[in-house]
Symmetry: C2
Subunit: 209 residues, 2 copies
Amino acid sequence: MSSPQPLLILTDDDLLAERWQGLGRSPVRARNLEGLDTWRAAGHRLVLIDLGNAKAGQPPLWTQPGWQRNAAGLAILATSSMPNDDEGLAALNAGASGYCHSHAPLETLLQALDVIASGELWVGRALLSRLLRLVDSRLPRSGLADWATPLTEREREVAHLAALGESNLAIAGALGITERTVKAHLKAVFEKLQVADRLQLALRVHGVR
Amino acid sequence: MSSPQPLLILTDDDLLAERWQGLGRSPVRARNLEGLDTWRAAGHRLVLIDLGNAKAGQPPLWTQPGWQRNAAGLAILATSSMPNDDEGLAALNAGASGYCHSHAPLETLLQALDVIASGELWVGRALLSRLLRLVDSRLPRSGLADWATPLTEREREVAHLAALGESNLAIAGALGITERTVKAHLKAVFEKLQVADRLQLALRVHGVR
DNA sequence: ACGCCCCCTGTCCTTGTGGACAATGGCGAC
DNA sequence: GTCGCCATTGTCCACAAGGACAGGGGGCGT
């Protein structure tokens, strides 16, 4: 349906290159980052890259010197023979527009290529749901954070400062009350949040685990 | 390329419904959640939903009683006339497979529908890059975290446990050493990381501020 | 062999922390 | 008016934490 853009494939794996011929579009093959430069110079954008087996090629592709310059302006679909969430995130952060399995069904690859060709990003279901879970667990809820809900206003203030590592005396000074009162508030906070000490409180407040 | 699946559209906006006729596929229109049930009963999966203007319909669609049951098993593309990152996250968490602008170009909508029809998730560039930024700011860096680099192996172990709120005695037990030794390691950790106590250490380790 | 670093442990000692027990004044609900 | 919740403060006390000295044993490079 979309105008099939010319495609550059970049891989060291001959078998994979052959498989990718099945994508149609008679892709051009490159073997190193310089190929990206000439590809862009020719006015093209679409690139399919095999990151290879993480174990084999030690340094990830995007840590190589020319990467930033070479990747700029291109729509790159990064693929891995052993997809891994962290690698995917790293690839996307490094400028790739998509990430999936090297041996994904050709239909899936075509769809991903279509998506990134139109300027969007493409992320697999697994990686995306991990992202969602990550942000979901530590996003500002509507209004108050969950840890703050059972606390009174004063207790919130004390808890917040304590969670930043302030000493009882410092908190007392900041709020213009006695250290004894700070202790009283903290005692209530510990009780309500079911934590043993200020460190556990800090972890809770900052959403660790 | 992909077999065009039958499409159900769900919106209160007549203009929008008319516009979506342009998607082809002669979509069926529904006006309430019950429509989803009959749609699934008919053996279909693909649904395009307009969440409407967030201000107008106060309760988000997915908080309505029947939503969970109605949405199960369907591939739903949620759209909003005023896209908003938080709404998008909520929609995806509520079971939608995609989220974009109600008046996005028809090509974009078709592409998104193709993607979710094939079982993947579809997220717009803006929302996705926000997700990436969120996780990027607090994800384990490649190999060692910055706080760990100046520490010896043993110091890392002790620091890690201390940052989780374990007591010196507990750490000693976990590592099979004396509490005194734990203190020695922690002292070195505090010195190297330039922090005053274990709470500041925890904040550093967990990347707060 | 000597210095350097790491890992381990010991005995003080000071201080911050957190719990126990107790009390006062304000303020809204019944 | 009384009850309950909140904020405030007091004293006493047990204990974990962290610093100050001090030391032994192992590995590693020059």
